[in-house]
């Protein structure tokens, strides 16, 4: 089995291949925001590096969003067309959740935030629990302060973020209660606000970390790993059901409704 994973929701596009054993390889573009131009050549490169033909693909997976609207569409329309041309099923991979695969066996809360401008973010918070993904804060479009408030609530006694994983992996670092690592391009504009939030007395039980540059943004390898999990759990879609997850209406629609 070979799953092709496409990631075009952020500033840099990447593609990855994963087989049933979970072996992943990835190609990343060095061209910012030129996904349309470089996507198919990248697919060609990764296939030839793995010694595969396009017909060796079993499923087409794509990072479905949130992220750049245009970026999401390039990925989803390319994935749909590949599936249409090859007669394959697709896997829609939630972009925010895929960050759980950025740092293997991380025990804290993974919190990707994408800058949606005007103090808005697309964000979510997730954590491994019993080898299953636990949603600490559901992925959605938020006002940054509202999002941080939800995140803080999750760490209050009885909150979702405080439950530690029952199984610890040998050799892995001891889980730290209340550790959150922020990912995504939202770190850059909102870092200070997040640090201020953490310093507030009600949140002083939370340790905030920011992802290192090399794991900060979306990566097709993580999309591929989550795609393999979704595939194992039977979450396959026909290409016609593969839809972008924008999490926000078009501005013109919002304005019209606001009238």
């Amino acid at each position: 089995m070979n799953i092709l994973a496409i990631e075009t929701t952020g500033a840099l596009a990447s593609v990855a291949l994963i087989d049933e054993a979970g072996q992943v390889s990835m190609e990343t573009s060095d061209q910012k925001m030129n996904h349309l131009q470089h996507l198919m050549p990248m697919v060609d490169q990764i296939l030839s590096k793995r010694g595969l033909e396009i017909n060796d693909l079993t499923y087409i997976a794509v990072s479905e969003g949130p992220g750049s609207f245009t970026g999401i569409r390039i990925g989803v329309s390319s994935a749909r067309a590949l599936a249409q041309a090859l007669g394959l099923e697709t896997i829609g991979v939630p972009t925010l959740k895929s960050f759980l695969y950025h740092v293997p066996e991380y025990k804290g809360v993974v919190c990707p935030i994408f800058d949606a401008r005007r103090n808005q973010v697309y964000g979510g918070a997730y954590q491994w629990s019993d080898s299953k993904i636990k949603e600490v804060v559901a992925g959605d479009a938020y006002d940054l302060n509202g999002f941080l408030e939800l995140l803080g609530q999750a760490f209050e006694p009885g909150g979702a973020g405080q439950t530690l994983p029952a199984q610890t992996v040998p050799g892995a670092a001891e889980p730290k209660a209340g550790e959150v690592t922020f990912f995504g391009d939202g770190i850059i504009p909102y870092r200070e606000q997040i640090e201020a939030w953490q310093r507030a007395s009600s949140n002083n039980n939370i340790r905030v970390l920011f992802a290192a540059d090399d794991v900060r943004l979306q990566k097709a390898s993580s999309i591929a790993r989550l795609a393999l999990e979704l595939c194992r759990s039977g979450t396959l879609k026909s290409l016609y059901d593969l839809k972008p997850v924008y999490m926000r209406k078009a501005e013109a629609e919002r304005k019209l409704e606001g009238k």
Binding site: L36, Q37, V76, S77, A81, A85, P244, Y246, E251, A252
Partner: protein, 338 residues
Amino acid sequence: MKNNQFITLGIESSCDETSASIVAEGRNALSNIIASQIKVHQVFGGVVPEIASRHHLDNINTVIDSALKEADVTLNEVDLIGVTHGPGLVGALLIGLATAKAMAYARKKPLVGVHHIQGHISANYLEHKDLKPPFLALVVSGGHTNIVDVEGYNQYRILGRTRDDAAGEAFDKVARVLGLGYPGGPLIDEAAKKGNPHAVEFKRVYLEKDSLDFSFSGIKTGVLNYLNTQKLKGETISVEDTAASFQLAVMEVIVNKTIMAAVNLKKDKIVMAGGVAANSLLRGMLKEACDKKGIGLYHPSPILCTDNAAMIACAAYYKYQAGIVDDFYLDAYPNLAL
């Protein structure tokens, strides 16, 4: 190949129509599926790029399926994929392009990017089986107003272009201020039939002597000023008369410049293309002027005047015949030059 005929799949998504078509031997449209978004954008009074892009993505794969099915052609039998790569709304263009590129790559088909205007002109090859270049083309649509010297299937020279609004754009704007709605072209055409085209003398803008360029922003302002003045005077406004007078002022300039170009270049054929080529007044006036000069006039049927993929497939076919093929780095160019 199907029945020994060369099969082209055309894809168009440059504005608000998602279209796919199967064309045999470059000239024979076996299917031409058009999913129009006019109703979607009507409530906004014009095309909203983000919403158009979303709808293109929702529709494109089923539109391609329908085009194949209606033509009774399989993807295997497709020899070439042609797709609009500009000009147009970039977010809209890229849906067709991403789709065409992925399909061409996956099925190892040659890929050709087509200029939207070349597509509009090529619509005439589908309609008129014997038509061959050279000829003079008049391209008038919501986004374009061009007089083009077509010297060969792949040789184009733009002689005149709009310096501000496209003709169709001016129609949309005037239709809006007249309260006729969107899209303006057909609505003004309809209203004008009941009006007096000489009721208001709007200024005809010819620019410099011998210029083949256009300017339509002035007449739009002219209509606005007229309406305001009438309102201040407390006079009633006839929407039909205003529409008819506006339309005549625009078309007179277009017809005169087109005929001037044809005469100067000694062209014996004029080919109309684009959405406004479906306008009844323009067709009638140009026909009369062409008849006087002994020039042949060609135009596509209304369905081939709108944005459609059959015209893109046709243009792609002639590019491919000339040895033009694009690689998989093909990109979208919102301001692509012809």
